[in-house]
Amino acid sequence: MEETNKVTEATVDTAEEKAEGKIYEIGYHIVPSVPEDKLGAEVSSIKDILEKQKAVVVSEESPKLRQLTYEMRKEFAGKYQKYNSAYFGWVKFEAEPTDALKIEAAFKKNPQILRYLLIKTVRENTMTAPRIPSYRKSEVPKFEEKKEADQTPKKEVSETELDKAIDAAIAE
């Protein structure tokens, strides 16, 4: 299913995006057996892959170790290795569709990359900032209006009713 996804995204053409190349994002997991101090070398090898295809980096996040939600496995020297954590990072870049496919092929070959995902995206930041809860505009003034509306008729009623009440009290 993933395979078909990638192919359709890479082949879809829109005139608007053709003018300035295409924006792709590749997310990847680096195998956790790479020690932390050698992670920099891995990152630079990924950068080399992108540079080779003349991709322009838009934004990126360096890989950080995180737990995976399920066990993944990758064949390594004829044996399956199981992983429960990996270094997850991503790079957003601009490239031609044919170059993007070459980049994808290079990621597939890399033995240190547990899993990757190439998607088509947009230049702007797609992550949402944490939001402050906001009230609907219509709710706040409504509440105040109600208060005023409640007070005015009460006043009128109280004056006449007071007289009546006094009269009634005297008559008794």
Binding site: H29, A86, T126, M127
Partner: protein, 70 residues
């Protein structure tokens, strides 16, 4: 009426693209077992439900969200 009509979260908050890495956002639309909530339940418009579903499935593939949470 079991479900009160709600406005779509994405149109309300002016979110145009759903990122698969945005886990805090995606988790709002997941059930306790990690299933994608029905539109009837979350009130998301069909346009964004499709984008949301794709983002959740990408996040699952990348091991960021579970296929099944127990």
């Amino acid at each position: 009426m079991a479900f009160a009509k709600k406005q779509c979260y994405f149109t309300q908050n002016n979110i145009k693209h759903v990122d698969y890495k945005d886990l805090e956002l995606l988790k709002k639309f997941l059930g306790p077992q990690g299933n994608i909530m029905a539109r009837k339940r979350s009130g998301v418009s069909s346009k964004y439900q499709r984008k949301l579903a794709e983002a959740v499935k990408r996040a699952r593939y990348m091991g960021l969200l579970p296929y099944i949470a127990r």
